[in-house]
Amino acid sequence: MRLDPIQFEVIRNALLEITEEMSATVRRSAYSTNIKTRADFSCALYDGHLRVVAQSFAQATHLGSAVEVVPNAIREYGADNIGPGDGIVLNHPYIGGGHLNDVTLISPVWYKNRRLGYLATIAHHVDVGGGAPSSIGAFTELFQEGVIIPPLKLVRNGEVVDEIFQLILAQIRSKREVAGDFRAQIASNQAGIHRLTALLDRFGAEVVETGIEQLLSYTAQRIRVEVGALPRGVFTAEGYVDTDGYTADPVRLAVKVVVDDDGVLFDFDGSDRQRKAPVNATFAMTFATCAYVLKALTDPDVPVNAGFYGAVRINAPAGSVVNCVYPAPVVGGWETQMRLTDIIFKALSPALPEMIPAGTEGMICHAGFGGEDPRTGEYYCFLETLAGGYGGRAKSDGPDAVQCHGKNTENAPIEETESSYPVRIVRYELVENSEGAGRHRGGLGLRRDYLFPDHEASFTVLADRDRWGPHGLFGGLPGAKAEYVLVSKGETSTVGAKSTLQLQPGDLVSYRTCGGGGYGPPSERDPVSVLADVRDGKVSAERAREVYRVAIDPKELVIDEEQTRVLRGSNGVD
């Protein structure tokens, strides 16, 4: 049986639509800011062979997350032990997951007494217990990071298994919120089952299953064409995660990208061994990063499913920071992955100079805190990730203060944050002069200051980039490095990029994230663009003169053409 192009197109859109509807359900009914506002979750549909058929998500970090965890969980639990109306929950990083906060709920889809596939939602829960609020911190082993859930039946025959639910909730600080998010995931899977059943009623199982088969081979065909168009060669680069949270040794990441007739191979041989520190990434995380890179290099119209994922080939040595083994802690693994993304792109930059940006923020940059809310006496947890500068590009500047590559979460509105949590945000602005200078400059980093007026909060910085700023390309300069600052009783001190602080009432924590790297020599930047940055206060007149070699009268806001010529001439340009 083969579907005609029309039936095929109708079914493929309907499959994607199912996951979109699941997403809408999660988003609207979830409780935590991280899920509802920041959209840190994804929904996926699998066929009976456990292949991803369709997936909806707003974060590229979730690209690969669906590939490993669901098949592994089903195999571990045993497909035959799962009946209609059941729901399997897990967050175990070493069964194909990311960090413990990413909790997966899987529901089988039964149709006419036959199991046709599975639906899953993967959501980043704000707290899963462990050593610090929001379950982030500089931990040395997995057990400190929170409750570890192997595949368990959380829903049996449509009913939540209360004993298991209570055992999980007992480990968690912000119980009401997390319970609400679990309910949102359950509702989402139900919505998905409902829609998929309607599709099966409409077309019959044979047509839908044929459509799935055709969709996967169609996708594989399209990605093959796309990969074939990439420049051939072996491209290498290396770089470092600045700190691991315990030692002064930066974490080395070695990248070799091989593009040949067989496709693209991402080889990370030579990267550092895993550490007793929160910088280790599971294979699933590395997979997500490589999938993102491949997606960014190819036509975005190619669907995301097993047909696409099949084109992602990886060599990540077991026991290394890009494929850690049990029981290494993994909570900061995404920090490593964000850096890995930048290094892969750096390797490819000579081959694709028109496409690849200079170094970006290159970190997730978590801010997590919690404690007892003095207004209610309830334990609260808060988590967000902060944007930074994007790298300059061949044709344009890097945008200011924006989420880069794998992450694309929205910020938490200040008014919503302050009404829900006992914190005051006293500053949220661009960091002036933080851009990596270049013909096309990098974006500015941003500053966000958290004040805790009336209680003792526990605050965790889980970030990076406080030693080196993002790299420039082709003569562009690196962006400014990040800074994490504590103001306590009038004393200001710098704190490490991976540290947990016990705050006193009145303490303030300030993030200043890094700027993006510049592209091309700064002395080639159009003076009119430099003037615009000076007028906007993004770049100072002094910096314009010293770095860009453009003379600007800061009062009149005009370019002194003659002085500029002298300045630029002396640099050998002109």
């Binding site: 029309i6 197109e9 399209r222 993102y292 960014a296 509105p413 008014e415 009404s419 661009l430």
Partner: protein, 698 residues
């Protein structure tokens, strides 16, 4: 003998409609739009329809305008030069925005351009906490110094958004007073007046858009008004707002952000009115034109309204909703799902060999291949022609002669690449376009928790009735209504709509601990404001209707559900019922509710409606004739359900009298549209000339 006149300015045409209030007689006319100065087309259309029909401007009771002038100003970046003032520490609120990228995988992406450049964003020292208490008193000298800087920058308009001003506007009021006294020529928009709801970026964005379009819109409306008055138009001048209600030019000029989606709202209002006349209260509207299809949902006779809206947002592959790609506004907008599927949508084969339709459109230039204007790519219109659904000699009443050979050539090219025959490819184009519309209908119904089978489908726009048949089959609609003159049906919406003002306040109160005196006090304030405005607009006290709503959620959730509140003063005995109602609504939308979980009221909302008497639709009369007199012949039309081409009778819609009923298959033609009646469906003509299509299966 008074009439009403509606002027709807679209991208291509400016439509004029006049309805006689007593007889329901309708006149229509259209002129080419004049985008450079839309007021020219406006006046041309007005004068033409009045002159041609020998109507006196002074006999117009009122004029209603639907316009995209506000939206265009935003999209084309022709906003007034504006400044933005906010709390110390938050100057970059507009520029940082939501900190996300509009697309996931484009390494060359650009962030949304801030509507106010950084050097025109200013801070003043002041701060409230989340309960509205003053933490840092306002530094009046900061406001004065900012005002002096703004004076030097020759700014036309100012937006003010201070943190937590929706809870306590005291500091914004001070800022407003100082600015208005120091800069009397500059218009000032305060966030606490424009959109007093929490989440600062969204409120700031709404306020900034209001500030940026205010000088543009008020100049535009003033120039129209003075010229209309000079021509002897004495009636009230009104504008359609995005919420589907009217307001006077004067009020619209103050809060123009309420009219950004003025145009599309009219179609849904027309459908609402039609439903009222026919006794349908739950309907889904399908408005399909040349480039897009828009669907809306009407529940209990009221169009669904959303506040989650972005101007200029585009959904793109791989990003899902397109959220984050436009400028958010938090004023009520009629909830529409718009997709790139219209008569001009182009069919193509992608690199994996799949057949795709749209979102690219052949537009009016070069147009579909069958126009013969140079278009070579196959479109939805070409497919309709090949399948016999369109009459080549009667497109737009014969204005454009369609070339069947060119349509066939274009589709054959596509078919050979797909390895299909011509007919299958043509039918495939329609099926894919229909499937896209079915998805849009699902989005607005099922995804919002409504079962489309409980709704009637209203199909209009030039292409709507060509496609509504298949969509009705697919989604199981039991009734489809095709109004007379579907192509200009939207414009009727302008003339059958009430005056309406929406107000809201954020209250953030737990229902269990609700202070009813505060809530009631706020409602009274909003009601007074509404009655005042309507009074200024000339609405009599007895014609005012007040509706109250509460936007509620479980404590901790982020999206609110809107519930109707009982009329009159709220009492404690109402609360249990409101909680029950909330639980039911939550269950309906999300499939679960949580008994015992605390519930909070986030915003209260009030609509003040000024009832205008609706004209009666004109009855077409019962000539006693059968369908034979309307029978204009037969042609070969393709129906998949009949296994191919069949000899299908063709009818002239204008000759179909009341009471006639026929069974499908049939094609019903009128100058601006064609209705396809599928086999298995019957059609009845009602007293107003509407086609009512019903499935023979019931």
């Amino acid at each position: 003998m008074t009439s009403r006149i509606g002027i709807d300015i679209g991208g291509t045409f400016t439509d004029a409609t006049v309805i006689n209030e007593a007889t329901g007689e309708i006149f229509i006319d259209k002129v080419t739009s004049t985008p450079r100065d839309p007021s020219i087309g406006f006046l041309q259309a007005t004068n033409r329809i009045l002159e041609r029909n020998e109507l006196d401007p002074s006999s117009m009771a009122y004029l209603v305008h639907g316009t995209t002038v506000a939206t265009n100003a935003i999209i084309e970046n022709s906003l007034a030069r504006s400044a933005f003032i906010t709390t110390d520490g938050f100057r970059d609120m507009l520029e940082i925005g939501r900190q996300n990228r509009p697309v996931l995988y484009d390494l060359g992406f650009e962030k949304l351009r801030p509507l106010v450049p950084r050097y025109l964003c200013f801070e003043i020292r002041e701060r409230l906490d989340a309960s509205g208490n003053v933490v840092v008193p306002i530094h009046v000298e900061d406001v004065k110094s900012v005002a002096r800087k703004i004076r030097e920058e020759e700014v036309e308009s100012i937006a003010v958004c201070l943190l937590h001003a929706h809870i306590n506007p005291v500091h914004e009021i001070t800022v407003g007073e100082i600015l208005r006294s120091m800069l009397p020529e500059t218009s000032v928009s305060l966030s606490s007046e424009v959109a007093p709801e929490f989440r600062e970026y969204f409120r700031a964005s709404t306020t900034t858009i209001n500030a940026g379009i205010r000088p543009v819109v008020s100049r535009y409306l003033e120039s129209i008004e003075s010229r209309l008055r000079a021509e002897g138009m004495t009636g009230e001048l009104l504008v359609m707002q995005s919420n589907g209600g009217l307001q006077t030019f004067e009020v619209a000029a103050e809060k123009p952000v309420f009219m950004v989606e003025s145009g599309p709202a009219a179609g849904v209002m027309a459908a609402t009115y039609l439903g009222e006349s026919l006794g349908f209260s739950n309907m889904i509207s399908l408005d399909m034109g040349g480039t897009t299809a828009k669907v809306g949902l009407i529940l209990d006779g009221v169009p669904n309204v959303t506040k989650d809206y972005e101007v200029g947002a585009t959904a793109r592959p791989g990003m899902g909703s397109g959220r984050g790609s436009g400028y958010p506004i938090r004023t009520p907008v009629i909830d529409l799902v718009e997709i790139g599927a219209g008569g001009g949508s182009i069919a193509w084969v992608d690199s994996g060999g799949a057949l795709r339709v749209g979102p690219r459109s052949a537009g009016a230039d070069p147009g579909p291949a069958c126009y013969g204007w140079g278009g070579l790519e196959p479109t939805v219109t070409d497919a309709n022609l090949v399948l016999g659904r369109l009459n080549p000699g009667y497109f737009l009443g014969g204005e454009i002669e369609l070339d069947g050979e060119k349509a066939t050539e274009a589709i054959e090219g596509l078919a050979s690449r797909l390895g299909m025959d011509l007919i299958d490819a043509a039918y495939g184009i329609l099926e894919i376009a229909n499937a896209a519309m079915v998805n849009a209908l699902r989005l607005i119904s099922i995804q919002r928790g409504y079962d489309p089978r409980e709704f009637a489908l209203v199909a209009f726009g030039g292409a709507g009735p060509l496609h509504s048949g298949r969509i009705a089959i697919e989604l199981g609609f039991s009734h489809t209504i095709v109004p007379l003159s579907p192509g200009i049906f939207s414009a009727l919406g302008l003339l059958v709509t009430d005056l309406r003002h929406d107000f809201s306040r954020t209250v953030l109160q737990n229902v269990e601990r609700l202070d009813l005196t505060i809530i009631e006090g706020l409602f009274q304030e909003l009601e007074e404001e509404g009655r005042d405005l309507l009074g200024r607009e000339g609405v009599k006290e007895e014609d005012v209707q007040i509706r109250r709503y509460a936007e509620m959620r479980y404590v901790g959730q982020s999206y609110e559900l809107s519930l109707d509140l009982p009329d009159g003063v709220l009492s404690h005995s109402d609360l249990d019922q409101i909680l029950d109602q909330f639980a039911m609504e939550h269950d309906r939308v999300y499939g679960f509710s949580v008994p015992g979980e605390p519930v909070e009221i986030v915003n209260i909302r009030l609509s003040a409606l000024g009832d205008i008497r609706k004209p009666r639709l004109r009855e077409i009369g019962n000539s006693g004739t059968g369908s034979e007199s309307a029978h204009k012949g037969a042609r070969s039309v393709y129906f998949a359900e009949s296994g191919g081409y069949i000899d299908c009778p063709i009818f002239d819609r204008y000759k179909l009298a009341q009471g006639i009923s026929m069974i499908g298959p049939a094609i019903i033609e009128e100058p601006d549209s064609t209705t396809v009646v599928h086999p298995g469906y019957s059609v009845n003509i009602d007293q107003y000339g509407n086609l009512l299509l019903t499935s023979d299966d019931g």
